[in-house]
Symmetry: C2
Subunit: 254 residues, 2 copies
Amino acid sequence: MHSLQFTAESSSNGMVERDFTVGDVPGVLWSPASGTDRAPLVLMGHGGGAHKKHAAMAGRAHLLVTGCGFHAAVIDAPGHRDRPRTAHDEQEIAELRKAQAAGEPEGPIVVPYNARLAELAVPEYRATLDALQDLPEIGADGPVGYVGIGLGTAIGVPLVAAEPRITAAVFGMMWPDALVEAAKQITVPIEFAMQWDNERIPREAGLVLFDAFASKEKTLHANAGKHFDMPLFEADSATRFFARHLGRAVTSPA
Amino acid sequence: MHSLQFTAESSSNGMVERDFTVGDVPGVLWSPASGTDRAPLVLMGHGGGAHKKHAAMAGRAHLLVTGCGFHAAVIDAPGHRDRPRTAHDEQEIAELRKAQAAGEPEGPIVVPYNARLAELAVPEYRATLDALQDLPEIGADGPVGYVGIGLGTAIGVPLVAAEPRITAAVFGMMWPDALVEAAKQITVPIEFAMQWDNERIPREAGLVLFDAFASKEKTLHANAGKHFDMPLFEADSATRFFARHLGRAVTSPA
């Protein structure tokens, strides 16, 4: 088991940002600038082609840290940002670009590629969680949530199915094909986002994945618009979802 | 045109509650206890078999008034609470009870009955809005929203389609049959709530109605559970929706 090594630290916007590694996996942990004794942790998963410090990750972290006093952490997915791309990664990405250029369906490429990334990433997330829980400001028995859209859902659904420490999750925007069986094992509260006019992932596919979760509390948020039009207020909504389930009030209008 | 007559006033929980009539239609207006110069107004429509002071109405009003500084107003639907029931009302209600007791579908009874109530109620809501806008604390050119679930949607969809003063609306939980044509005329931002396991209104029926709105911004909130299990946090969400669209920040964690 690898322990967590901090490699850089900075502070802005009411957050402390600490880069870290767990083994050879790079990540970032955002925490409240004003120290708290133990606070809940939200693990995050970035989208396909993005990375741990993408604006969507830093933005969600800001809402969670400054609005709720939570910690938020994310690691680069295999083949993304600071991690080496394999020949297989290069091939999958080339095929995806080809399909996009030809206007062909992306699902047949993205689904197996992301399923392969998830196989690698799930144990990495679990090791990262082990290491983060060794930090005194997080601790081994505090509440843990997970949020990830797109690739973050392809990784997150098998992660949450396997990981009893995660007790609330926000997912969305992924084909159901590789995920339905894991989704059926998930019983924790879920918020699930989809785009009603998604040109990449058919509407029915989004509804099938939402339907598969066994959670007694699950909420679908479907917004008008295409794949990349997901409104920013969904990040506010996810923050309030975690505030409800991980046990802190939102302290500023989010 | 009838003007508004106040018939009772009380104050609690940070709200002033004023009963009123416009012609022979009774209503209630909730306003901030600390007077403001002009504030946005949210019209509300109660559910079938409920009334203007049902807990769902008073609860939404409390969030809107104390959270956003808005006014909130609702009138009794025809045949409800303080309004006389016609022989037709009695007959429809008896048929509905019979269908419920026999476990038969309610849609064939509720849809035409609520459509008839909407025909009566839409002009009543418009006259109420005229009268409310004569009050100095509301005014003729301030933002106006509408929220109503169930019967409140059966009335609200044709109301919002007909009424250009209403610029944002929250609907949900009604069959599409009598409403699709009006929904297609609506272009203002919409939040639409449904229950994913509704035993009365089939899932597909809810999705058809949501799909019909022509609004560029529309959000579906589908929650796991049966008809009466709609979670309370949907009222918080509706409050934030109106805060976004009618122009005030939510001032306390809602």
